[in-house]
């Protein structure tokens, strides 16, 4: 996925800011203080009702490339259609703070958008997996030829990736997105003056093509002996967009100090309503108003103000199809979850949230639910209508608990107020869409690529690894003023618990504000 060498080659900031507090004596080490981005003071968002009259596609699977809401004057570079393996040039002008590359499938590739890979034991334990044919760039090089990112190698997921320039770990088939900067390394690299101006080069790529490369006579060094596949595909064509995020016009950072985000909330209730909110009713519904107020508060923790919230009633056909039949493990891009996300409205510069009565864990009629799921990390910002364009949130708890009235106490209470809990999950999923990972995954062994988010390391926090592997890392073990047992209250921690507060770190906030979905306030 990336060359670990990059961290030491390219970024000198790592050693001085090590997470573990290494170096120095205990007496000289200052107490660890978890970094928290202050919440921005924002005006109340505008709230309007929109019309979603999308026609019923029937059994047609929506996979077609969609336009960006941006145009060439506002940061869009349309690189058009390219085959995997193509190296494509694009021009980055001076004054650019970040870039996002979106690949959308045009044609070709495995017929079911799945690929089987065997990971060989030289790098990781033997591991045969069938997964999405992940659409992810192969390499990215800056004007000096510096390798900013490569996917043509296998990584150790438990290693420290904070120094990597570009990290992507959550993209999917058909529509894949990477954003730079997404890590401490990337943030450091752009901090002084932004991206290098000039001609950048990106290699169009996906996992199926990596399989073809691995099977070739001369596989890339990073894949040779690391993976093998029963089959590969070299014919896939992707439409490629580059979205440039302009540097801030003032201030000490090239990343804008504040931003604005517009939100679309699609109400996908059952035909006979369960959570019973319509788009028109949402404007005065106490639960929805509280939910939006708390969502805005969480967003303000990223330095983002909520601009306009547009409520949509899902069309009848969509309510019938999706309200009770979306699962987080739909196996293909034509499954209900990706196809629901594909109903988002192309051309809008909005973050798309779909509120459902319930989100199943599996498509079969078995038990198990989740409360939120995102298309990809990051999402295809500004490109709605794809299989990854948004996130789904459960409304199960919307009416539950004791909630302050909307306009009242602004402090969210996600553990005791259902509307705040829904807002918390919605904000968490929005964080994923904007490029944020869980600071600590449930196993307590895998961490995000940001240095100012504390780890919660399973065995360092009093738990057996087998416990974390099976039931997950509990939040209460992650509340210490410590770089290795903290972060349980962070918005992007892997679960909601009694300790959840929903703040973000400064680096998380900067990554979120780097998204091209964010506009100037």
């Amino acid at each position: 996925m990336r060359l670990r060498l990059l961290a030491t080659l390219l970024l000198p900031i790592g050693a001085a800011c090590g997470r573990g507090g290494g170096g120095g004596t205990p007496i000289q080490t200052p107490p660890y203080v978890e970094a928290k981005e202050p919440r921005l003071a924002c005006p109340a968002p505008a709230q309007v009702v929109g019309l979603n009259s999308a026609p019923d596609p029937g059994t047609t699977c929506q996979l077609a490339p969609q336009p960006s809401a941006l145009d060439a004057a506002h940061g869009l570079i349309d690189l058009r259609d390219h085959k995997v393996g193509d190296v494509v040039d694009f021009q980055v002008p001076p004054g650019t703070a970040g870039l996002t590359i979106i690949q959308q499938l045009v044609s070709g590739g495995p017929p079911d958008h799945r690929v089987t890979t065997e990971y060989l034991p030289a790098k990781v334990p033997p591991d045969l997996a069938t997964s999405d044919n992940v659409a992810v760039i192969g390499e990215l090089r800056d004007p000096a030829g510096l390798l900013v990112y490569t996917d043509l190698t296998v990584i150790d997921p438990t290693a420290d990736h904070t120094g990597d320039l570009l990290v992507t770990m959550g993209t999917g088939a058909v529509a894949g997105t990477v954003t730079y900067p997404s890590s401490t390394g990337g943030l450091g690299a752009v901090s002084s003056g932004g991206l290098a101006a000039g001609v950048w080069k990106v290699t169009v790529n996906d996992y199926a093509y990596e399989c073809a490369l691995a099977l070739s006579a001369t596989p890339p060094a990073g894949l040779a002996g690391a993976i093998t596949c029963p089959q590969g595909w070299s014919d896939t064509i992707y439409r490629v967009y580059v979205l440039l995020t302009p540097a801030a016009s003032s201030g000490t950072s090239v990343i804008r100090p504040a931003g604005s985000l517009d939100l679309a909330i699609h109400l996908v209730d059952a035909p006979t309503p369960l959570f019973d909110v319509t788009a028109a009713g949402a404007l005065t519904d106490a639960r929805m108003q509280r939910m939006v107020q708390s969502y805005a508060a969480f967003l303000a923790g990223a330095g983002l103000c909520l601009g306009t919230v547009t409520y949509y009633d899902a069309p009848d056909w969509a309510r019938i199809r999706f309200a009770e039949q979306v699962s987080s493990s739909d196996p293909t891009p034509c499954g209900n979850l990706p196809q629901l996300l594909a109903t988002s409205k192309p051309g809008d510069r909005t973050l798309e949230l779909f509120l459902l009565p319930k989100v199943l864990q599996d498509p079969a009629s078995t038990t198990g639910t989740v409360v939120g799921v995102d298309g990809t990390i990051p999402g295809p910002a500004t490109v709605n209508g794809t299989v990854a364009s948004g996130a789904v949130v459960s409304a199960e708890d919307l009416s539950w608990g004791n909630c302050p009235v909307a306009g009242g106490d602004p402090t969210p209470r996600p553990y005791t107020c259902g509307a705040d809990g829904v807002a918390y999950v919605a904000a968490h999923e929005s964080g994923h869409f904007l490029g944020l990972y869980h600071p600590t995954e449930s196993s307590g062994t895998v961490f995000d690529p940001l240095r100012d988010t504390p780890h919660c390391e399973c065995t360092q926090c009093g738990l057996a690894q087998a416990t974390c592997d099976k039931t997950g890392l509990p939040g209460n073990r992650c509340t210490h003023a410590s770089a290795t047992c903290g972060g349980g209250a962070n918005l992007m921690f892997w679960l909601v618990s009694s300790v959840s507060q929903g703040y973000l770190s400064p680096e998380q906030a900067r990554v979120a504000r780097s998204s091209p979905l964010v506009s100037s306030p």
Binding site: Y119, V124, L128, A129, S131, V134, V154, I155, P157, M169, G170, G172, Y207, G222, A270, P271, T272, L274, D316, I320, E324, S328, S329, P331, T332, P357, K358, Q361, S365, T366, T367, G368, T369, V370, G372, V373, D374, G375, S394, E396, G401, G421, V425, H428, E441, S442, S443, T445, A466, T467, D469, K470, T471, G472, P474, R477, W494, L495, V496, S497
Partner: protein, 194 residues
């Protein structure tokens, strides 16, 4: 190239899961005390998008089912967590689990999420004969269409011999907007020749 280990760790929430890869096959020791059981339960019920597999529930230890039953039956709890507790009961089984599922599945006043989960859980836990006696009345008499539709689906899947006739009868009575909720049940019955 990202390993499926990493995908499993990171992407259960965001993308179709790979077919393999859990970090460890070791089952942890049972919780040492009530506090440890409580924190394990909180970690299972509070997950945002992580999966809860049978091994997850079994890691709650011998007192897990009783604790989950208390949570599932507590009407003051958040529905999402209560529904997940029901899911755990359907995996762990035992007399307490069965009693809780029966009660919640039959309760017309129960929250939709909790009741539909109990209906699905009953399908996993109960033998076909007693399943039909529990679910056919729900199919015929529940006031919420979603309860009837889930009962139909579970009957078609787990007790088709006793249930498919009732499923067809009920589907014919459903109002047009709610009839599609029976599609999968009817298709399953048809596939089984019932």
């Amino acid at each position: 190239m990202i390993t499926s280990l990493l995908l499993a760790a990171l992407l259960a929430a965001v993308a179709p899961r790979p077919a393999t890869a859990t970090p460890s096959t070791d089952q942890p020791p049972p919780p040492a005390d009530a506090a440890e059981l409580a924190e394990r339960i909180e970690a299972v019920l509070g997950r945002i998008h992580g999966r809860a597999d049978p091994a997850t529930w079994q890691a709650l230890g011998p007192d897990g089912a009783a604790a989950l039953a208390r949570l599932a039956l507590d009407p003051s709890g958040p529905p999402s967590r209560r529904a997940r507790a029901v899911a755990g009961l359907s995996v762990l089984g035992g007399p307490r689990a069965e009693a809780a599922l029966r009660r919640l599945a039959a309760d017309e006043g129960e929250h939709w999420s909790v009741r539909t989960e109990a209906l699905r859980g009953a399908g996993q836990l109960l033998p076909a004969a007693s399943l039909a006696s529990l679910l056919v009345p729900v199919l015929r008499g529940a006031s919420r269409p979603v309860d009837r539709a889930v009962a139909a689906e579970v009957l078609a899947e787990r007790a088709p011999a006793a249930g498919c006739g009732a499923v067809r009868d009920r589907a014919a009575l459903e109002a047009a907007p709610d009839r599609p909720g029976f599609t999968r049940a009817l298709a399953r019955c048809a596939a089984l020749g019932r």
